[in-house]
Symmetry: C3
């Protein structure tokens, strides 16, 4: 395995995602929202939106993370990945408490994603020219 | 290609996902739910929730599956992947029939995901220490 | 890096996704839809559905793209990926203007996905038999 640090960051991201996913299951029971409904209680909706937004970010984050790892280096990707996980945890805690407080965490993980994306872009241009 | 069995399991997962996705398109026509609406008919909502939940699980499943394949082995990942696909098929059939019957399939695929995750975690710890 | 063209196509897909994602953030402000709500204004809902549908397609597209790249070849995967990105851009523009006009772009990216999937399936069968 050539990318142990990126693999570690990926597992941390999956762990965070597991926590926000299981929170939705608990909120469904706690607030009595019966499937297939996903609305009807503000607190349930916050929990669900945290999961959905995390999904929406992961489909960008994971490919950018691994392209960075392969095209640039393992340790840099892992640092970006770790910042992303921290940002997402801050986002989730903020959103559950008050949706207007989701900005800080969102910005941290967004910047991590953009950094990974730009690094991967630099790496692929170098690979195409090299 | 060093991971032919994991690749096969991945293609089976994509095939299952294709089936649940196309079911949403058909349900949209059948129950007259015009885009961008995703609510308004219980049966449509069930079909749509099956797709969304499959998306929500895939973003965890696919990275865990491939980390397991690379860090542990191909055949074990493929077995976990096959169990996941079976669980998801059981889940989809149960949910469409009656949302309260979605538990069994959900549990099967959830356990497969957790098994792959824990195996990958073991693999990465071994790689970091080794 | 053995797959520079597929990596380039992936970065283009992420760029397209970034554009449709940021459009949702802008639409949230423009139409005054406060989190956690995702309904309440037709134009916001269109923008949000474009993002969600792109997520729904990406979880199929990215694995199919990379399995094709590894199992068949880099350049073919990249061509399929480029067609997918074009289809998604046409889809987004059509949907925002009028949801009934989303069919053309959807069909282009769907056919690209199916082509990548079938190519990868051929590749894996060849790998298992070879």
């Amino acid at each position: 395995m050539h990318y142990p640090y990126t693999a570690t960051a990926t597992l941390l991201a999956l762990l965070l995602y597991l926590v926000v996913t299981m929170a939705v299951g608990r909120a469904r029971v706690k607030y009595g929202i019966k499937a297939p409904a996903v609305t009807g209680n503000e607190q349930f909706e916050r929990t669900y939106r945290v999961q959905m937004n995390t999904v929406e970010q992961m489909v960008f984050f994971l490919p950018a993370l691994w392209l960075y790892a392969v095209l640039v280096n393992d340790i840099g990707a892992a640092v970006g990945g770790l910042i992303w996980v921290i940002g997402r945890a801050v986002y989730a805690a903020g959103y559950i408490a008050d949706p207007t407080k989701r900005g800080t965490g969102m910005m941290i993980s967004f910047l991590a994603q953009i950094g990974l994306f730009l690094g991967a872009l630099f790496g692929v241009v170098r690979a195409l020219l090299g």
